[in-house]
């Protein structure tokens, strides 16, 4: 019985290790290719460990295209969008979860309904409106259209609802205003929900491709995702450089992921648990 169990365990490990290798091989290929010479990336027989590590690829790429500007642009868009999203969502979530006012349920219903409408459905009219406002080909336009998602409000509201009403009631009796209750009690309690929202917004905006593709024309405004595309179209045959640039574009997301993995998992699980 005991040996049976340990054999099962060994098979399980072999399966899991095989599956992880399969999942991670593209990333391994990306990293080793980025350290090869351009002409050696597709050398036959294939080398899974390069003979020499050409770290200079990581210096060259910054001179080929204004990648640093692309990084700065993406960071700016990501940070500002995330901050606006976080604060306006928390504020609105408090209103929807803890206050009673005329039309509350109707407005919230409209919010929830539009979560189900994919951006691709209204991106065209949204673009024509933004171009009327003169907000296309600008960072401000992209920030504004990504900062007010109904999803953020919904996520935080669900958390605020779970905070006991007695807590707020007691604070009201102590003479705290609604703003005081929000700032001193509810907002600090929402840390884990906020972390989930921040991380998802950060990764979405950082990885966003279609938004910048439609809205940004000038090279000096472009984001890192568009930058990688430019790299591919201009240096398509310089495989090692393309891979080095791709690795750089992944680094911020990898760092966030490693440190905040728990919130990712919680966020995904929360989205599915109702199903």
């Amino acid at each position: 019985m005991k040996t049976n169990k340990s054999i099962g365990r060994i098979i399980l490990y072999i399966l899991l290790i095989a599956a992880s290798i399969l999942m991670l091989i593209p990333f391994y290929w990306m990293v080793i290719s980025s350290l090869k010479l351009n002409k050696d990336v597709f050398s036959i027989p294939m080398k899974w460990i390069p003979d020499a590590f050409h770290f200079e690829n990581y210096q060259i790429i910054w001179k080929k295209l204004p990648l640093l500007d692309f990084f700065k642009n993406t960071t700016k868009l990501t940070v500002i969008t995330t901050i606006i999203q976080l604060f306006t969502s928390c504020f609105a979530a408090y209103g929807f979860a803890k206050m009673k006012f005329a039309g509350r349920n109707l407005i919230f219903l409209i919010y929830v309904t539009t979560i189900a409408v994919p951006w691709q459905v209204y991106m065209v009219p949204q673009f024509t409106m933004m171009s009327r406002f003169g907000l296309t080909n600008s960072h401000l336009g992209l920030i504004l259209l990504q900062s007010f998602s109904a999803f953020g409000v919904f996520l935080i509201r669900q958390f605020y609802i779970s905070i006991p009403e007695e807590l707020c009631e007691a604070a009201r009796i102590d003479g705290l205003s609604e703003y005081g209750i929000f700032a001193k009690i509810v907002f600090p309690l929402g840390k884990s929900a906020m972390a989930t929202l921040v991380i998802f917004t950060f990764v979405n905006v950082w990885n966003d491709f279609m938004g910048p593709l439609i809205y940004l024309d000038s090279t000096n405004l472009k984001t890192i995702q568009l930058g990688i595309r430019m790299f591919i179209s201009q240096y398509g045959a310089d495989y090692a450089w393309v891979m080095a640039a791709s690795v750089c574009s992944l680094i911020p997301v990898v760092i966030i992921f490693i440190f905040c993995q728990r919130y990712f998992v919680e966020g995904v699980a929360a989205s599915g648990i109702k199903g």
Binding site: P26, T114, N207
Partner: protein
């Protein structure tokens, strides 16, 4: 005015003040565009200062007779038909494997989930190299195991969609694995213990306990995946650009090209409404299904 009424008005105002910052942005940048998309779909407009012209259902009639639209619609269906079931099975299996108390679980979970958060542009670039027909590692491997003429993947009209599907499954399954893992936590261990006492093996436990109890989750995952498949764009734009020919042209490609390449904004909005109707139908099925499952569970 009584003091009670005054308090009520004040409460209303405080309530509005909380939602207002978000509501203003939301109304202008999301709610109005959603409404506007319905209007635009019955208009003809090149997006310039020229006035819009009302054309009724003309745009939709044009869609029906447009072979590119038909092909992108069929391609999207094809993409979904392959991606959804395979992703469901793969993510369920991964979750079952991971739902054990063994060392290093976090490492495995991380490596399965990681493709999901990596940007599609970087991922598309690396997969295009892996799929490279002459020198790429995938075809090298296929030749090594005796397949003389491996598929030409992204440069072949026949195989390009398959390449996109493979990458999508690889990218999505970590996400749905997490959804399944959360659901697995909810299954009582007592059920498995009872089954063990009755002499059920691992396969039987999976077949008669795990899979039936996960039905609501599987249903949810299928609906989410279907919607996700109908929205696909980035990956295809990066890997194949909709080509070769029109072989991987999907609905959102069609909307994008109509609007931002051909400046046919009304027509693009009509196609977007078709996408909306599909997503709406899937969402309604999901609501119906959820109610049914709640009743029987």
């Amino acid at each position: 005015m009584t003091s009670k009424q005054k308090r009520k008005i004040k409460n209303n105002l405080v309530g509005y003040s909380f939602i207002l910052p978000n509501l203003i942005g939301y109304t202008i940048f999301i709610f109005l565009p959603v409404c506007f998309s319905l209007i635009l779909s019955v208009m003809e407009w090149d997006g310039s200062r020229n006035p819009m012209v009302f054309v009724g259902l003309e745009n939709f009639k044009r869609l029906i007779n447009d072979s590119t639209f038909r092909i992108s619609f069929i391609n999207t269906l094809k993409y979904a038909v392959f991606t959804v079931p395979i992703t469901v099975v793969a993510s369920l299996l991964l979750a079952v494997l991971l739902n054990k108390k063994i060392k290093g679980i976090a490492v495995f979970r991380t490596s399965f989930f990681f493709p999901y958060i990596a940007s599609l542009v970087a991922v598309g670039a690396v997969w295009n190299m892996l799929f490279q027909p002459e020198y790429g590692p995938i075809n090298n491997l296929l030749r090594a195991i005796g397949i003389a003429n491996p598929p030409r993947w992204v440069v072949s009209t026949k195989w390009a969609m398959m390449a996109v599907i493979i990458v999508s499954i690889w990218k999505f399954m970590g996400y749905y694995m997490i959804v399944y893992l959360a659901a697995l936590q909810g299954i009582s261990p007592a059920l498995y213990e009872a089954a063990s006492i009755d002499g059920a093996n691992g396969w039987r436990k999976l077949r008669y306990i795990t899979i039936p109890l996960l039905t609501p989750t599987t249903f949810f995952v299928m609906m989410m995946l279907t919607i996700q498949c109908f929205k696909v764009f980035d990956l295809i734009y990066v890997m194949t650009g909709g080509g070769p020919g029109r072989s991987t042209n999907v609905l959102v490609n069609f909307i994008y090209n109509s609007a931002f390449v051909k400046f046919d904004f009304g027509y693009a909005s009509a196609a977007a409404i078709v996408l909306f109707v599909i997503v709406l139908v899937v969402t309604l099925i999901q609501f119906k299904g959820e109610k049914k499952f709640v009743k029987y569970m």
